[in-house]
């Protein structure tokens, strides 16, 4: 009876399956094509070859000859990791302060900070560029990270998630003689592990993918990031598709790995403070 019922349900779901298969195909195909193209010669890619070829190594060698691939990869990792560590520390400390020590005035400050969410990046770009350049920080990791260390999004994410933090253990810790900062390091951080993980994933992804701001302050080739490297590769008069897609592949590998290994944290990071 139930079996018959369930097969009837599955039959009714056939249009759903077909729709989902089509959508999934469209979602995955461009990425498959990118990987396949990275293994083919440009002429074959242009001819419409969509299977894997034998030119991966050659494309890779051309890529390393034409660009400073390792330099850009190193830069991207450095900037993204430093930004993630510093942003998490600053924003989680603020989220902790706002939620667990909250009073009327702190709530007011919080709602003012939220207004920063409405400020478009292009609007602050010029004054920030002037600030960074007059401080002599152009083409340094500081130029990259300073404007995006403290974000309303991350502060809000930590604040909202702190709601579940057991306040009783703070009292107990105080009786044990722990300072407020010690409570943060020894109790808050371990309890909030999963929030840190989600925040780390989303911050790393954002830093790795950012393009407009690095384009403004990291003009020196030695300071350039992976997205800048592949954008330059594509801006030439003739484009070698094999080499370009090898570059795109290298730019995508770290984020793809994070996506497949930490998909749950990534999804939590995107939705952030939404409960």
């Amino acid at each position: 009876m139930t079996k018959k019922n369930s097969s009837a349900i599955q039959r009714r779901l056939i249009p759903t399956y077909i729709f989902l298969i089509i959508v999934s195909f469209i979602s995955v195909f461009p990425l498959y094509w990118m990987i396949a193209a990275a293994t083919n010669r440009s002429v074959d890619v242009a001819r419409g070859k969509i299977t894997f070829g034998a030119y991966a190594l050659e494309n890779f060698q051309k890529l390393t000859q034409q660009t400073d691939l390792w330099g850009a990869l190193g830069n991207s990792f450095l900037y993204a990791i430093v930004q993630t560590v510093v942003a998490l520390l600053v924003c989680s400390l603020a989220g902790y302060g706002f939620e667990l020590y909250h009073d009327k005035w702190k709530d007011k400050v919080f709602s003012i900070l939220l207004l920063a969410m409405m400020i478009p990046q292009v609007a602050t770009m010029i004054p920030l560029f002037k600030m960074i350049s007059s401080a002599g920080l152009l083409n340094t990791v500081w130029a990259f990270i300073l404007p995006s260390i403290s974000t309303p999004f991350l502060i809000m994410m930590f604040r909202q998630n702190s709601r579940n933090f057991p306040v009783d253990i703070m009292e107990a810790a105080r009786l044990d003689g722990l300072s407020e900062l010690q409570i943060y390091f020894r109790m808050y951080m371990p309890v909030m592990k999963s929030t840190y993980a989600a925040a780390a994933v989303i911050t790393f992804m954002n830093a790795w993918n950012s393009y407009l701001w690095p384009k403004v302050v990291m003009a020196d080739t030695r300071a350039q990031t992976m997205p800048m490297l592949i954008a330059n590769l594509a801006s030439g008069y003739t484009v070698d598709y094999g080499v370009l897609m090898m570059g795109v592949l290298f730019c995508s590998i770290p984020t793809m790995i994070i996506f497949f290994v930490l998909q749950k944290q990534f999804a939590e990071g995107i939705t952030g403070s939404v409960k």
């Binding site: 599955q10 779901l13 759903t16 729709f19 989902l20 959508v23 999934s24 979602s27 995955v28 461009p30 990425l31 094509w33 990118m34 890619v45 242009a46 419409g48 600053v90 924003c91 603020a94 302060g97 020590y101 702190k106 900070l113 920063a116 409405m118 400020i119 478009p120 609007a123 602050t124 770009m125 010029i126 004054p127 560029f129 600030m131 300073l146 260390i149 403290s150 974000t151 407020e180 993918n209 393009y211 407009l212 384009k215 403004v216 997205p227 592949i230 954008a231 594509a234 801006s235 370009l244 795109v248 730019c251 995508s252 984020t255 996506f259 497949f260 998909q263 995107i270 939705t271 939404v274």
Partner: protein
């Protein structure tokens, strides 16, 4: 009495500790968001470049100039075109997918979800370049269409206004649908599954369930994704720069791209003019966010 005073002292100390904890973040937002915003507003009343920056004559010169600048008006038009077409299609598709994937009778749910979500794993520059290559004159889409006999010869998708705009929209939908779906899936998980079971027993079909249960209960999430999408679309940059270079003849350029070109593109930096245009975007974002929030409130 003294005990009470002491506990007040401790509380005061704790409150001060709270201020110390939030100070670095608050100061950084003030220095790197609010202060530059004020600076941008002031700069928007200046003209000249580099060290020759001076107050504009008349003061609102950059603002009047902006509305006579055809390329700027085109960039505003383009951005709103993307907004009007892309955002509704993407959000409807995202809700639909979330609704379909929330069905517990469905097999391979996790696999489908992962695949629909996958485009989010690529950087904006990466996917812009992938789409640029796919739709190039000698790209895969042309090869397929010519071989199928749909086109007689290769079509220059990115060299023609209509198709270039369509490709930006298609690319945006591809990249962001799964992203928005994640919000809706999270929202749907908060709705008791039994509500759906009950609706089914009452004989409500999928369509009715969707409109009577899913949409009203997801309203806060929908409002939020609408605001985020508007905000994101008004600031589009990477796609315009890397997919079409704003072309042909500025017919796909976005506001952010045009502002960037004026400030840091070829030639001298027109910081005053660029700041005026960027302030215009700020006003737009603020107004549209306020409207979306208002609409969301009324529905509650």
């Amino acid at each position: 009495m003294s005990k009470q005073k002491k506990s007040l002292n401790i509380q005061g100390k704790q409150q001060r500790a709270g201020w110390v904890f939030l100070a670095p973040a608050a100061i950084m937002i003030a220095v790197f968001s609010f202060y530059p915003m004020v600076q941008a507003f002031i700069t928007s009343f200046t003209t000249g470049t580099g060290v020759n920056q001076r107050m504009a004559e008349p003061l609102f010169y950059n603002y009047t100039r902006m509305f006579a600048d055809r390329t700027f008006l085109r960039s505003v038009g383009n951005t709103f075109l993307y907004l009007a077409i892309e955002v509704p299609i993407m959000l409807v598709l995202a809700i639909l997918l979330a609704q379909l994937l929330n069905n517990r009778d469905l097999k391979f749910r996790g696999l489908f979800r992962t695949m629909v979500f996958l485009p989010c794993a690529t950087s904006l520059v990466s996917y812009a370049l992938i789409f640029k290559s796919l739709f190039a004159v000698d790209g895969l889409i042309n090869t397929i269409f010519v071989n199928l006999g749909i086109f007689e010869s290769n079509y220059n998708f990115l060299g023609n206004t209509g198709s270039a705009r369509a490709i930006i929209i298609i690319a945006l939908i591809w990249r962001w649908t799964g992203y928005n779906m994640v919000f809706y899936l999270a929202g749907l998980q908060n709705i008791e599954y039994s509500v759906y079971e009950a609706a089914k027993i009452d004989g409500a079909n999928g369509w009715k369930t969707f409109w009577k249960i899913t949409v009203p209960l997801l309203m806060p999430t929908i409002v939020m994704t609408v605001i985020m999408s508007i905000n994101g679309t008004l600031q589009l940059f990477d796609e315009s720069v890397n997919l079409t270079q704003g072309g042909p003849a500025y017919s796909t350029i976005t506001m952010s791209h045009y502002i960037y070109n004026n400030a840091f593109g070829l030639g001298v930096g027109k910081f005053g003019y660029a700041s005026a245009m960027s302030f215009f975007i700020f006003i737009l974002v603020a107004i549209l966010s306020a409207i979306s929030m208002k609409v969301g409130d009324n529905r509650d």
